[in-house]
Symmetry: none
Subunit: 411 residues, 2 copies
Amino acid sequence: MPSVLWILFDGGGDRPAGGKTPFHAAFKPTIDYLTANGSCGILDPIAPGVRPGSDTAHLALFGYDPFKYYTGRGAFEALGADVALKPGDVAFRTNLATVDENGVVIDRRAGRYIAPEEAKAVEDLMKKIGEEVGRKYGVEVVYKSTVEHRGVLVLRGAVSHRVSDTDPHKVGAKMARAEPLENSKEAALTAEVVNELSRRFTEAAAGLEINKARRLQGRLPINAILLRGGGYMPQIEPIRERYNIRAAAIAGVALIRGVARAVGMDVYTAKGLGGTKDDVFDEAVKLAVELMSRYDVVFLHVKGTDSTSHDGDFNGKVSVIERLDKALAPYLDALLKNYVVVTSDHATPVGVREHTGEPVPVMLYGPDVVVDDVAKFSELTCWRGALGRIRGIDIIPILGSYLGLSEKFGE
Amino acid sequence: MPSVLWILFDGGGDRPAGGKTPFHAAFKPTIDYLTANGSCGILDPIAPGVRPGSDTAHLALFGYDPFKYYTGRGAFEALGADVALKPGDVAFRTNLATVDENGVVIDRRAGRYIAPEEAKAVEDLMKKIGEEVGRKYGVEVVYKSTVEHRGVLVLRGAVSHRVSDTDPHKVGAKMARAEPLENSKEAALTAEVVNELSRRFTEAAAGLEINKARRLQGRLPINAILLRGGGYMPQIEPIRERYNIRAAAIAGVALIRGVARAVGMDVYTAKGLGGTKDDVFDEAVKLAVELMSRYDVVFLHVKGTDSTSHDGDFNGKVSVIERLDKALAPYLDALLKNYVVVTSDHATPVGVREHTGEPVPVMLYGPDVVVDDVAKFSELTCWRGALGRIRGIDIIPILGSYLGLSEKFGE
């Protein structure tokens, strides 16, 4: 029985900006060969014009309405970081950052590239502070670093996700105090815990050995932990039960791993797939093709197209697409007997450096699809294709039907 | 920062009827130049096949689901006529009409073209009757004429919008009695008030000087006031808050002005833009282009395409489109740096003379849109374009994304 390889270029969509887009410019003979023999269209990840986050977009792409299931980023980030969430737990996405002596944010990412041993030192410090503060307030505190400056903070106990972010979301602004967003004991307690953790981290960070070393190297200290996107884990019927699909996801980014795990996909990682712009994809593609014998849908997440877009790096974005395509080439014969989906979770135009709301190109190759005239996977061509304009939430049902796995609605 | 000029041809959509449509036949070089350099598609104002009213279509186009926000035409008509509605007020759309001695409707519009002094005489009479009837039932009665035979009646007090229309909606039928549509004291009272107002207006109309004059001129008397679309003002979050968009509307038609005002748009009028088929657009377009420096979206409503359609006047409809295009021409250079949307709120095929439910063409020009092959704005061409098939409610989010004004949903 055929299965599906689904390649997702995070933030891969772009704007023509008077010329070509990265998808259009990239030399990607394997994807374009599949495109020439497949069906194309444009895809609104959530709905026309809606600017998706990666989390809401992936929920939709996996077949779950984000307006119903999205409960804040923190919960998905924590799942992706292998922090098991219990009902009632509250999770925040965190950034390690640099603030000045007045608490004004100098860098929301403390220089972004944080070494694993630095992340470990922060985890150790947070463990100590978390135990002390947790004891004082009767809650359990779990902090975990994920990739670079990113991490998650989970609070367990009589807590609420209805508190405001401490992340001011911009440089030059003062780190904010968490405030309760509802009139409840839980929200008030959560805000207090968050503020005390934040204050004590900044106080203790000055004495960290890693910060002494960073100072000597002329690097910014890691002296603040910014929280945002407080959320709780929603009840989600697993994809296997909801859609009768056995699905695997290969991803290096905690948030995507978390969303995949939340919907019941088996989550894998691969050598070279760290979730950065320098990822190499050979091992990831090899693993994906292997997994196709055991799963109906294998989802491969490519983060580099988004990272390069946020950096405004057109050539870097092209290079990520070309590297993925090259890694795909050895498996073309095997793929031709199966289905392949190529799309993106949202546009991140290199000229904008932020997620935007236009549709992204989508391609579906497979033995039973209508072959249209589109021969190149790109924003400038796919709208001509046989798929028309579809939405993220349509993909899984479409695949379920081609694979013969979906239930008939009615008789 | 760029902004948007949005030109809406009311009832502009049409059917090919074996040949060209008015959009296809019209000589409109400026709109077609923008079309050739923009993105096209087809648009279901509400949903495929749904026959929209102008009010429900405009609600959707402005980004508000009419199934949620539409509470009867009267409320929007009243807003458009500068009658400030208070919570609990009930408003009806009214027609001045001609009935025979048995109350059978001879003309639902009393000849349609009603002079301002005639409308004024009707207002004076309604003021007198309204005060007497209002005192008797303990309600406040406000009547206001808008354009031609059109007007609004507002009842304030212990009233309900749940009463039936007195307008039989066709010639040759008897003017109906208002009946309560729910079992409440308010609905019963409202029906009584409406019926007494209607009866007394017809009784008093015989003695009106204007009707004596009309008789001498061989014109139909204004001797009935037909009520329909009883509604109340819904709670609507302003477009500025909901979509972060500063929006202005230029319109001559009370109903459209009312819908625009209801969603929080600033409403303007312009010389020549009375909302009839003879409108000239030079001042309106000039104002629109000026307003673009102060607003994110400037909406320009063109009524004549609908009026000519209801008259079955193909050439008249073409002429309205051509006049608008000619007024646009001097501003082409300025527009090229901005966004332009051209579409319609519904089809009113000249062969049908009523609103129909097929999609209308839509064009989006702008610096960042994908340019497709469509070079002429028309029902016969736009379906080939890069926008695919979208809905009225998608327009504002799409514009918000291109303008960089919309919030991201998720992280």
